[in-house]
Symmetry: C2
Subunit: 246 residues, 2 copies
């Protein structure tokens, strides 16, 4: 049984302004929660789970932590969950300290106005798959701690660093690093292979990359199109680009 | 103003059993509806839209069709919409006639138990981008006329043919066509390039491709992994694979 105050506290974390205020966020589902628990950078404040889940997982977690865990009923989980179909476990975590990202000597992903939570989460998961450890987001990208983003990362959130900033101001700080921007009329992606250092800019789902950023590009890159679709989903485009250039 | 009966009819189309019974489906949003209207294969039964949308688009549609159009209020659209944020237009369309798909001389996509509507819709859009005109779905894949699938296709539904069937029975009919199955321990995708004829099997989001289908594979293929993520989203994997082999 969780208190009314704590229920309200968790519900408030569904919204960005309270996540910022409380410096905390929620994650749901066994896979996502277990992955975050193993991340050395992320601190868990509390775990709330069904009795069943605790029986199955408690031992494994207790081994190396002192996380407060509590068994709650399905109807309570339903109240605090941000999902339409609540999972068996919900964790309250402290947000990571915002650090700065240095793009020297590696491939860095830059996201311009990615506003769909599912897309951002999937992009974080893709970056993690391809070993891209840093993502720079424009200030108007969706919050990485949005419950739907956390859900779609499938646990990769603890392994990929994110920084929110004004993109143009950040990009001009690194004139020696090549900037590749996705556009409709660029070079085919197959021409860039084995990239060791570079910045890849992915644009908004419907509007693409803003002109301000396009002007800073060293090269425009394009996923060659054969059929009739007008565009590709931003996450799918990211996956295709990283799979070719890395 | 639409009648209570027609409102109920549209609402019933949110469910597969009524879509099958009525042989109809709904599509929402300007981009999706306009794309379906231009498809020579898909017949529109009725368009319901805000006055504003009709003023802006009626002329363009009238030119080459006699589709019944009706202006409705936002609250009516809200009632019939399957979206949490209804768009300005909803079209009722007749389902396509189920045909058979011949994989000879082309690249055919086969989906094993893809159950997430967003994934299926995105895969249809990806197929359309790469000029893959035919998709075979296992019987337990989500219905292609599910409103969320239709939404995620972004209009590609009219340009890609789909067939639902028992996969193993279908695959053994074409022993001469190579079957590539996505798996964790296969050949890197970069080794297959310029494929002109072949069947690519994509597995379920969490379970992968079933053993029955794996046994039929001529080659297992893998997207090389560098980082920590356990898996890739099925739609992202499809995009990456098609971008390499076509």
């Amino acid at each position: 049984m969780i208190s009314k105050t704590y229920t309200k506290y968790i519900q408030s974390l569904h919204q960005k302004k309270f996540r910022d205020l409380e410096n905390a966020f929620i994650a749901e589902g066994s896979k996502v929660v277990m992955d975050l628990l193993t991340s050395p950078k992320i601190v868990c404040e509390r775990l709330l789970a069904t009795q069943q889940w605790l029986i199955e997982n408690e031992q494994q977690i207790r081994k190396d932590s002192h996380i407060p865990m509590e068994a709650i009923d399905a109807y309570e989980l339903d109240k605090i969950s941000a999902l339409s179909t609540p999972n068996q476990v919900l964790g309250v975590f402290k947000k990571l300290k915002a650090g700065s990202i240095d793009p020297v000597g590696k491939v860095t992903l830059v996201l311009d106005s990615i506003q769909d939570p599912g897309n951002l989460g999937t992009i974080i998961r893709i970056a993690d798959w391809f070993g891209v450890s840093a993502i720079i987001c424009s200030d108007n990208c969706v919050d990485r701690y949005n419950p739907k983003v956390v859900q779609s990362t499938m646990g990769s959130l603890g392994r990929v660093e994110l920084m929110y900033t004004h993109l143009a101001d950040w990009l001009i700080k690194y004139p020696a690093i090549p900037i590749y921007v996705t556009a409709l009329n660029g070079t085919g992606i197959e021409s860039i292979k084995g990239l060791k250092e570079g910045i890849i800019v992915i644009g908004n789902e419907s509007k693409g990359v803003s002109d301000e950023i396009l002007d800073l590009a060293n090269e425009k890159i394009t996923i060659p199109k054969i059929g009739g679709a007008e565009s590709l989903n931003a996450a799918v485009a990211t996956g295709i680009i990283l799979s070719h250039i890395i």
